[in-house]
Assembly symmetry: C2
Homo-oligomer: 205 residues x 2
DNA sequence: GGCGCTATCATACGAACGTTTGAAGGAGGT
DNA sequence: ACCTCCTTCAAACGTTCGTATGATAGCGCC
């Protein structure tokens, strides 16, 4: 169970935590190397530059999110069930890895194109949701509408509510760190998604 | 129609644009004063510090969002109609002021408590949505559930989709700068919110 | 005319930034 | 033993940061 904690790993861990808290520009290489307990020059030596270390952190965090979401999308059950599984998976991975939401938030706020690897992952996830919606429409369990746009509505809820957890806690007094509260929140979102997607004959005209 | 453009106003305008693009730490006072066409010392003189200028920018941007949302919430129509009005208002204000989404994104990513004025505004907006949902439940037009949690589902869609417009454009190839595309997107979200909130007797048990 | 207040200016300050340097360690192969 | 390669180290590099300083100009008012 003992971690030898190589210099590279220590740097990635420290960098993920600090980049998540203070963003790229708000985090100095001195702060990272100090928290990692390594020499100041270690970032340049192992990663070439601060920017490259940042990319490495992004890629490793994205991979964890990707695994959870794509597994849920490929799981068993009806399309609607699997969509709800993706919603739960998003909440789950963000609850387990509290650094990821803020890290992603910082990255999305930067005015530069997404790194190609992240762009592709995002495209794949939205595409998977849209495909599931399309399947549900084909078998008659999901109402009509553009699957891609509906996928945005579905994905936006777990994403925003997880990424904005801190302002939501301050502004709505909903504390997602409390497991019971988060459970009710997740089920509320799942119910909303289910109702928002299901066919409701009486409202069609 | 001529703008005298006082030093303070020029600074606020330049700062809003640059803070939105590069965040607080990524924007230097030299970049701001240069873009504003004023002396380097002007920020210290007129605002006391870079941090105070940032707060001033946040407050002015938040006020614009607040006006649009609260007006829509207080408008005429059924609770459900007014909720949809809030959704449209959020999309509208962010489309008109492209700086605001990124500015908010950067602020939410910072790990520090929200400025009190913003916290109160956020609380007021979520509360207004929750109140509308409660009214709809009382008159039987909205299904059961915790109004506060359902308000999060409603608000998260226009917020996330507007704030993450750039990654969505890159990852889902949906360009919200195109008015026709944005129109279809807004109506898709409104329909989703409507279906997600409405009572659907056949799904209750 | 001279005074006082506000605003703008060029310049300077010390601190912190990301990166570079060159020397020192330390394990593995011959 | 010696050489080699990878890694770590303390120190220094030049640049940029936010803010402070003191001089200068414009303008209303006694």
């Amino acid at each position: 169970m003992y971690k030898p904690a190589s210099t590279s790993e220590s740097l990635i861990d420290a960098a993920r935590s600090l980049f998540a808290q203070h963003g790229y520009d708000g985090t100095s290489v001195r702060a990272i190397t100090e928290q990692a307990g390594v020499n100041l020059g270690a970032i340049t030596y192992h990663f070439g530059s601060k920017e490259s270390l940042y990319e490495a952190v992004l890629v490793s965090a994205n991979a964890a999110v990707d695994r959870g979401v794509m597994a849920a999308a490929a799981g068993p059950g009806s399309p609607l069930d699997r969509i709800c599984g993706v919603v739960r998976a998003l909440f789950g991975v963000f609850a387990e890895q509290p650094d990821y939401p803020q890290l992603i938030m910082h990255e999305l706020a930067r005015s530069r194109p997404l790194p190609e690897e992240l762009r592709q992952a995002l495209e794949r996830r939205i595409g998977a949701l849209a495909t599931l919606i399309g399947e549900g429409q084909a078998d008659g369990s999901i109402r009509g509408g553009d699957p891609l746009l509906m996928a945005l509505s579905v994905g936006s809820q777990p994403l925003w509510i997880s990424l904005a957890a801190r302002p939501i806690r301050e502004g709505a007094r909903i504390d997602q760190d409390d497991p019971e509260t988060r459970g009710r929140l997740v089920e509320s979102v799942v119910a909303f998604v289910r109702e928002g997607l299901a066919v409701h004959p009486e409202t069609e005209e």
